[in-house]
Amino acid sequence: MPLWFARGLRRGVVTTRYPARPDSSAALLPAPPAFRPRQLTRQTADRLIAVCPSTALSRQDSVLVFDAGACTACGRCAEAAPHAVTSSGEFELAATARSALVKKIPLLGEAR
C-alpha cells in the first residue's frame, strides 16, 4: 500500500519556498556582526580587530572598516564586546562588486 503517499499528505512539503517566501531556518544561521557606533570607542575597536581571526576588521583613523566578504561569522567580536557588537542576522550578502561588501563604521566621539 502506498503508505508513503498518505504520510506525505499528512506531513506536507518539506522543501523551502525560499526565494519567494522567507525560510524559517534563516534566523538560526551564523551571521556577520552589526556594530553599535555609540558603544564603539577606539579602544574597543582595536580589541575587536585583535580578536578577529580573518582580515574582516581594520581601522582607518576614526572609522572601523568592516569587510563582510572576509568575515567568517565566527562570533568572536560579539563575544569580546557584547555591548558594542550584535549579530546582524543578515545572510543575503551576495554582491556584484567586491567593494560593496566593505563598510565603514564610525567610532564614538571621533570626527567623521
Binding site: 518539506v14 522543501t15 523551502t16 525560499y18 526565494p19 525560510d23 531556518s25 534563516a26 544561521l29 556577520p32 556582526p33 552589526a34 556594530f35 553599535r36 557606533p37 555609540r38 558603544q39 580573518s54 582580515t55 574582516a56 568592516f66 569587510d67 563582510a68 566578504g69 572576509a70 568575515c71 567568517t72 561569522a73 565566527c74 555591548h83 557588537v85 550584535t86 546582524s88 543578515e90 545572510f91 543575503e92 550578502l93 551576495a94 554582491a95 556584484t96 562588486a97 567586491r98 567593494s99 560593496a100 561588501l101 563598510k103 563604521i105
Partner: protein, 184 residues
C-alpha cells in the same frame, strides 16, 4: 563580448564611457538574463577549499533546498556550464586548470566566487596562494560566508542570473540603537 554579465573586471571608480555604452550594456544584461532565466547549469571549481563550501553546495540538491525547482543544475563538464561556482583561495598550482576551465565554458558565462577564502578574507597572498579568486578569473558575483549557507548560495545564484535584487549596497552593519544607546 565581455567576460561576464556584470563586467567584473571593470574598475569601480570610472563610470560608463558614454550613455550609449551604458544602454548597450543594459540591453546585453537583459538579453543574458532572459537566456539564463529558465535553466542554468553550474560547474563547481575547488581551488584549494577545505571542502565545507562543497558540503553546503551539495546540500543545495537536498530535499529541503531542492535547487532543481529553480532551474539550476550541476554539470560535470565546463563545456556544458553557464556558471562557474568557484571555492577556495585560488592556489597558484591551479592557475592553468582554472583558466582552462573558464575558457572551456561557452559564453555568456558567469563566475561566482564562493566563501570567505575566495573573497580574500582568510589567506593573504603568498608564494602558494593568490589569496582570492578575482586575481585569476573575472568574478561577477561574490558570495560571502564561511561557509555560505545553502540559503546564501541560493540568493547568490539568484543575484547572478538577475532574478533577485542585490541588497548589499544598502546594508550598513550598524545595529539599531534603543533610546539609551543599547544595553551597556
Amino acid at each position: 563580448m565581455s567576460p561576464g554579465v556584470n563586467g567584473g573586471r571593470r574598475g569601480t571608480g570610472a563610470g560608463p564611457a558614454s550613455q550609449d555604452e551604458a544602454e548597450v550594456a543594459r540591453q546585453l544584461r537583459d538579453k543574458i538574463a532572459a537566456q539564463f532565466g529558465r535553466s542554468l547549469h553550474i560547474r563547481t571549481l575547488d581551488t584549494g577549499s577545505c571542502a565545507v563550501c562543497e558540503q553546503e553546495i551539495r546540500l543545495l540538491t537536498a530535499p529541503h533546498y531542492d535547487l532543481h525547482r529553480l532551474g539550476f543544475f550541476f554539470t560535470p563538464a565546463p563545456r556544458h556550464a553557464d556558471l562557474l561556482l568557484v571555492t577556495g583561495p585560488m592556489i597558484r598550482a591551479f592557475d592553468v586548470a582554472a583558466r582552462k576551465t573558464y575558457e572551456a565554458m561557452p559564453g555568456p558565462k558567469v563566475v561566482v566566487a564562493t566563501g570567505a577564502c575566495a573573497l580574500g578574507g582568510v589567506y593573504p597572498p603568498d608564494p602558494f596562494v593568490h589569496g582570492q579568486v578575482g586575481e585569476v578569473l573575472p568574478v561577477d558575483v561574490w558570495i560571502p560566508g564561511c561557509p555560505p549557507s545553502p540559503l546564501a548560495l541560493l540568493y547568490g545564484l539568484g543575484v547572478a542570473v538577475g532574478r533577485l535584487a542585490e541588497k548589499t549596497p544598502g546594508l550598513t552593519f550598524i545595529a539599531d540603537q534603543g533610546p539609551s544607546g543599547g544595553e551597556a
